[in-house]
Point group: C2
Chain length 295, copies 2
Amino acid sequence: MNFKQLEYFAAVAEAKSISGAARELHVAQPPVSRQLALLEDELGVTLFLRTNKGVELTEAGQCLYQHSRQMFQSLRTMADSVRDVDAGVRGQLKLGIIYSDVQIATSLMQEYHERYPQVELYVRMGSPGDLLDDLSRGELHVLFLRSQSERSYGLRERVLGEDPLELVMRAETDPAPGQAAVPIRALRDVPMCLLRSDDLWGYSRDLTDECRRAGFTPNVACHCYDTPMEMQMVQAGFGVGFLPKSIVEAHPGSPVYTKPVLEFAAKSYPILVWEDDPYQSGCVKRFLELAAERT
Amino acid sequence: MNFKQLEYFAAVAEAKSISGAARELHVAQPPVSRQLALLEDELGVTLFLRTNKGVELTEAGQCLYQHSRQMFQSLRTMADSVRDVDAGVRGQLKLGIIYSDVQIATSLMQEYHERYPQVELYVRMGSPGDLLDDLSRGELHVLFLRSQSERSYGLRERVLGEDPLELVMRAETDPAPGQAAVPIRALRDVPMCLLRSDDLWGYSRDLTDECRRAGFTPNVACHCYDTPMEMQMVQAGFGVGFLPKSIVEAHPGSPVYTKPVLEFAAKSYPILVWEDDPYQSGCVKRFLELAAERT
DNA sequence: AAGCGCCATACTATTTTTATATGGCAATTA
DNA sequence: TAATTGCCATATAAAAATAGTATGGCGCTT
């Protein structure tokens, strides 16, 4: 059986006539007659009763006709949905997001979802290392990370914006109360909660280097494994933190606030990271296009 | 697009290799490569990424693969169900039944349904004339009627059994109390409820003819249009009826009982009636076969 | 560098499908 | 009653689609 036979069959069923169907199909009558006979042979079933003035469906023929209509419907939806997936209108998009990028990521995802509502979005949060592993295994398509000027990921990147790195504190732990910015020397001996320095993408390295240049070793009271933990420690009054300003802004009710370091205007850059694949899925392409529009 | 292309596509998707699929399909490699290219052209979509050691599905390809599996499934069920309909295992069977045949009809239908549970049964009750009209219009397939020796229906028939025609009465209207059978002369002047005599299939004609032969005109107190009505009238004490014995036996709680007419052993024959169509639907064929087995 | 396995392409051979011509059949019309 | 018409089926020739053969490029292994 093939589509042509089904197509001819359906046309004959609708025209109630072989020659009529042939006219509709713009082919001669014998081919239609022949394909019909082949179909009947293959199924081992009489599909039409041949009458004087045409043909009419048997019960088995009616059954086949109903199924054939469904079949053509499925065929159309199949082709459409394959094209949609190819165009990126439909499909799956799997994103990895580090804690610091949740704000910018959700906003971009929201806009993307409005534009491509049929795409299923998958997101996971995690450390940059874990996310990069998943990216290389193909389990994630695009990551929201922060750029590291010293290192390249060996991947495609796009900077989404910038975010000043500032000290984070409660009033009780403020090293320079009453001042809008904290001079670096004010940090001497101040207990600090920083991202663990062996984390390749920590923000802490910049600050500790700066302290050493200022002639002292910072008092790192607590090494945190991730930014939410660091926020918690600072909020608990454990010490002063050093984080992108936007993270603190995302905690409006918190007793924590930020101040820049007077002599050191460090910045962090939210970036998108993806693998450079010429056969990138349509969803990924569309998502990257949208990100490009927004920057 | 045609089934061959889909079939090749699915084989390639499963083998993750064009040449591997070609081996599975027992064809050379170039045809598979070519049909795949045609399919991709027609959809305007890249379905596979060609790698060093084979091919792998793109997202659009995965989408097509899932749909294609469904499609093959539908194809199989379509062929199966068409064959089932043809064989009479599936489909519709529309029966017409006169009141007197309800007992025998339901019993036959029950057995039929056990054997062919997938067939949808439609039944209607009515007068023989109405049912025959529906039969000729093709709205019913098989009728349960009673045979008329004088008339032929011009249709195929099968006798299902026999059923003595007897007088029906209450104790109050019994023309021959204490006797097992009623002599014909005892019916003189007895009020009777009979099927209307102009009904071609009424049982009454036999009895009224017999009365006239016995020298009197029967006292037909009420002409009934159908057997249930006649039963009601007899049950209400309006008079004596004349009906197939089985009808009364089907009313076990009723105060009505039957007695044969002494000199007149009339019988009624339940029959199946259908049109002689060589392209009879499978369900009808199977039903008639079952009826043949039972007689 | 040679060999191997993969896919793509060019070309030929085969199979399938189509179109043309024709015949049987039943119903309508002259 | 004979002729015509419209229907479907069949036989044959033409056209199209499909398969097979030969070959080349490419990346990987040996």
